[in-house]
Amino acid sequence: MLEVHELSKSFGGLKAVDQASLDVREGEIVGLIGPNGAGKTTLFAAIAGFQPPDAGRVAFAGQDITGLAPHKICAAGMVRTFQITQPFAKISVRENIMVGAYFHTADSKLARREAEAVAGMVGMTGQLDQMGADLTVAGRKRLELARALATGPRLLLLDEVMAGLNPTEITEIVQVIRDIRESGITILLIEHVMQAVTSLAERVYVLNQGRMIADGTPAAIAQDPQVIEAYLGHGAAKVMRA
């Protein structure tokens, strides 16, 4: 469904993403991991149209979307969430989600019902009247998710949805994400929380210093010496084996 082919993005002299490739098949949950500063969010931004890539191609459902504006990519069916949450602070949770729902309808009553339904899916029904600014971290993460869901996407790009959540909240969100996949939406997620990655993702890509260094099942890449070195430092793989 999503094909990223040798995408590169530099800022100034720094190559943030270096010829990274990945693909996501319909119905999958794919993870993107890597140590801090590896370039994961930059890769997302380049895929989702927020930063035009310097080189490489992005194709979605067969259509070339490289460098398209974010709202056009949303129209194609791909939506992203933000690592640093961006709630619409001065309006209610319901109104926040409605903005997403308005993507495929102009009717305010319909958008309202959609918003309430989506809120139910992510477990925010009790918070519908709260102001965006008044939510806790967990609430904001859910709101990001709900808003993106409300647009009716085919592929969801989730950027560190788990960050800042406690173990209970993580378990809840993991279930929500599973439910989302069950409803027919494909998911690509950036994550640091390994528990979430291993329990959700069927395949995982590993990014380090802008380069894709491994991909495979969570179990396989956990054994991959290059991955171990990326996280624990040079020579760690040897140490681990000894």
Binding site: H71, R80, Q86, P87, K90, I91, S92, F103, S108, G132
Partner: protein, 320 residues
């Protein structure tokens, strides 16, 4: 009927009754309150709802005023026909400024400043170009018959201003209930998030400024017809820009009734300072004193009461 709707109806009835019992002086004051609320709403839709703060909104006002006046005086158009033409001119200017500014990615303070510059350009042009009669200004021949968009009795200008104000409130109300309005608010709150949710931010911003321009231009024509004289400073001077911005912010930017509340408040302040000044013989000119108070209010509102006076009335300040 909900409490809000009942309140509105009562208010409307009072506004309709008012000029029938009030002296002419107060009728004119009332007309001004409603008129400023109207043009304030035009600013509010772009600045309050969509968050595009403009410092040069008077550019639309002046465009409207000059368009209808020139069509009338130089080309003999009937002013009622010149009115929609003025609105169209305002819409076009709004569209042009929006496309130029937003294509260049201008936001926040930069956008505010460029609108100021546009207003200044128009003012200088109006001052120097022959078809606006330059600094002399333009006089509309007094012939107070309804067909000429002139009325002998100020009560009719009052009712027209009331109509405009009500229409602007309805427009704002409709915006808040529509997808367009929700998108504008999203853009105001967080442009990037709005983009990610499929909103064509550029297109929506252009739309709102075009609408705002048309509305404000309508106000320009009204003003010209009431006072029968415009010149570059009246039409494009900074004072009107400030007034539109102020009434919206004081009343509550991004709310339906904000500009009206702001307009009433500012007028009350104006009348009070006028009364105070009449007691102090040294103060000949009252206008600056009112403006000093306005300036202080702007600082206090932005710093302490960003939701405007409406924020005082709501338990949880709700925006559009």
């Amino acid at each position: 009927m909900s409490r809000q709707a009942a309140l509105c109806l009562v208010g409307l009835a009072a506004a309709v009754m008012f000029p029938l019992v009030a002296p002419n002086y107060l009728v004119n004051v009332g007309m001004m309150v409603l008129f400023v609320a109207f043009i304030g709403q035009s600013w509010n839709i772009a600045g309050g709802f969509a968050g595009q703060t403009s410092f040069g909104h008077v550019v639309f006002f002046g465009t409207g005023a000059y368009t209808s006046t020139i069509l009338q005086v130089t080309y003999g158009w009937n002013p009622w026909l010149a009115w929609p033409a003025a609105m169209l001119a305002g819409a076009i200017v709004g569209w042009v400024i929006a496309v130029l500014s937003f294509r260049a990615g201008l936001r926040g303070s930069y956008f505010a400043l460029i609108t100021l510059a546009f207003a200044e350009v128009f003012r200088i042009l109006a001052n120097s170009v022959p078809f606006t009669r330059g600094g002399l200004g333009m006089l509309i021949k007094a012939d107070p018959r309804p067909i000429n968009f002139q009325f002998r009795d100020p009560i009719w200008f009052y009712y027209l201003a009331l109509l405009l104000c009500v229409v602007s409130i309805l427009i704002a109300w409709q915006v808040t209930r529509s997808r367009f309005g929700a998108r504008l608010v999203a853009i105001r709150e967080n442009e990037d998030a709005a983009r990610a949710l499929g909103i064509d931010v550029f297109a929506e911003k252009v739309k709102v400024l075009t609408l705002s321009g048309a509305m404000c231009a309508a106000g320009g024509t009204f003003y010209a017809q009431k006072y029968l004289y415009i010149d570059p400073n009246i039409a494009f001077g900074v004072d009107k820009s400030v007034e539109m911005l102020l009434v919206s912010m004081v009343g509550g930017a991004g709310t339906i009734f904000g500009p009206l509340i702001g307009s009433v408040t500012l007028t009350v302040i104006n009348e009070v300072t006028r009364a105070v000044a009449s007691v102090v013989p040294a103060l000949k000119n009252v206008q600056p004193l009112s403006l000093v108070v306005y300036g202080i209010m702007l600082v206090l509102i932005v710093a302490r009461l960003p939701d405007g006076l409406i924020g005082l009335f709501r338990r949880k300040p709700r925006h559009a």
